[in-house]
């Protein structure tokens, strides 16, 4: 219990301290910035407050796209890892293709996705999907294949079929790696969703808000959207952590 309180308290304290310094102008002093370049927290909060319903709606749009895209992308990445595990020859090609996708910047992917999808949501999901594939594929592949010595022997000794080995050995064995991938993808999916919105048809979403306002010198508004995105990111990360703690409580990292 004490630990749980500490888990939340420490980062919170740190955050508050940082916000205080920022509010009191020290951050600006150090970075040599004017408040109209980087607004102070209170101003951001006030702006956010005034604009809350719209911010929440925009957040919903971006997050749902990010979440769906992350799930699809992770699923595809995972599937590629599975194929690479079962059919090493084929799958290796799959991993290479994923790598190739991973080298396409979001700013190029977004207009490409605009060609394929007409709604902003579909375009966003398309972009996020591609962005999230690699981390999952690489991590899952390593988790599916780095088995403890002799654990495979046990399976072979009872002539377990491939998919049984997969289900009962490889799959649980790769769970820690899957969580690692999710931690990367939480961040990747949200930022990808945001950037895809720069180029989307739709004028909803955090990304549109950020770009539109930062361009128009509405810094407080723009940053309030960044704040919302950050909070959402941290929130999803915490959810992932809680899941992790329950799903892989047997793993060394959880002790």
């Amino acid at each position: 219990m004490m630990n749980k309180v500490k888990n939340i308290l420490w980062p919170l304290l740190f955050g508050i301290a940082f916000l205080a310094l920022w509010q009191m102008g020290y951050v600006h002093k150090v970075l040599d910035l004017k408040p109209f370049q980087l607004p102070v927290p209170l101003e951001i909060v006030q702006t956010l407050h005034a604009n809350l319903p719209k911010a929440i709606k925009d957040c919903g749009v971006t997050l749902s796209g990010a979440f769906i895209g992350m799930m699809i992308g992770s699923a595809i990445g995972f599937m590629i890892a599975v194929i690479a595990t079962i059919f090493p020859k084929w799958g290796y090609g799959g991993l290479i293709i994923i790598t190739a996708f991973n080298a396409m910047p979001i700013v190029a992917l977004s207009p490409i996705m605009n060609l394929y999808f007409s709604t902003g949501m579909a375009q966003k999901i398309g972009v996020v999907t591609i962005v999230c594939m690699a981390a999952m594929a690489m991590n899952a592949y390593s988790g599916l294949n780095t088995l403890k010595p002799y654990s495979m022997d046990l399976m072979h000794s009872v002539a377990a079929e491939r998919w049984v080995i997969f289900k009962k050995l490889r799959l649980p064995n790769c769970m820690p790696n899957v969580f690692t991938a999710f931690k990367i993808n939480v961040a990747a999916s949200i930022i990808a969703a945001i950037i895809s919105e720069y180029f989307a048809t739709s004028t909803a979403g955090l990304g549109f808000g950020i770009k539109d306002n930062l361009r128009k010198a509405e810094m407080a508004m723009g940053w309030s959207y960044i704040v919302v995105a950050s909070l959402a990111g941290v929130l999803i990360y915490i959810v992932i952590l809680l899941l992790e703690r329950n799903v892989i409580k047997w793993h060394a990292s959880q002790r």
Partner: protein, 238 residues
């Protein structure tokens, strides 16, 4: 690919949505010089960004593994850091370093470090208790524990992270090309996209993909070089 083409052929904008492979390759061939030159700029910056990002990622992971408190404090903020788009970040970075070129490299590194850090940290946290106790029992210094155990143990995890980060470094480098650079694949991509030169656009996209694959192979080769025991063990566990 064939499937996509077939599907695309039916659509009116076929050649825009996904141009035929041969046209891309012809374009690439015709513009080979320009693309190579641009690739060199982008790739070298990617390498630099990757190197810096990887080092930062590893250092952050080590710091976070040293102290659980630090991890608790830092990790949420690392996530937050990744939520700040370049549009908002670039002016701040520039204000700190006061040099556009350096800003670009920093931004590339900033984008790259995260997967390295997460994977490395997960490796450092996966070290078996008994392996740690062996060193703890002889009061090995933290430095030695990391040098002799944690770091070698986390190497495979690190390389998984690097395999994710290497093509991302290309992405990042292309992105920072677009921050007012005058050459690089990103510049070609942007110019061609906005002037509807779709052939060149696709050629640059394919080039960036190739750069990603090259970077991936570089990491794989480094892995085989640095982790020979890894390949030995595979034979056993496979």
């Amino acid at each position: 690919m064939a499937f996509i083409l077939k599907y695309v052929v039916k659509s009116e904008m076929a050649s825009v949505k996904l141009p035929f492979l041969h046209t891309i390759f012809i374009t690439m061939f015709q513009n080979a010089g320009m693309l190579l030159e641009a690739s060199a700029v982008t790739f070298s910056r990617a390498l630099l960004g990757f190197a810096i990002g990887a080092v930062i990622g590893v250092v952050l992971a080590i710091l976070m593994s040293l102290s659980k408190t630090l991890e608790r404090i830092a990790f949420p903020y690392l996530i937050i850091s990744q939520m700040i788009p370049v549009l908002g970040l670039a002016p701040i970075i520039f204000n700190i370093v006061r040099d556009m070129n350096l800003s670009r490299i920093i931004i590339a590194a900033y984008i790259t470090f995260f997967p390295v850090s997460v994977n490395m940290l997960s490796g450092l946290k996966s070290v078996d208790q008994e392996k740690k106790e062996l060193l703890y029992a002889i009061a090995a210094s933290k430095f030695n524990v990391y040098r002799k155990l944690m770091l070698p143990y986390a190497m495979p995890y690190l390389f998984t992270g690097l395999k994710i980060a290497a093509p991302m470094a290309v992405t990042a480098s292309i992105l920072v090309d677009m921050l007012g650079s005058k050459s690089g694949i990103g510049v070609k991509m942007l110019y061609s996209l906005y002037s509807s030169s779709m052939d060149i656009f696709w050629a640059s996209v394919i080039t960036s993909a190739i750069l990603g694959i090259v970077s991936y192979y570089l990491v794989i080769n480094a892995e085989h070089f640095f982790l020979p025991w890894q390949s030995g063990k595979e034979g056993e566990t496979a």
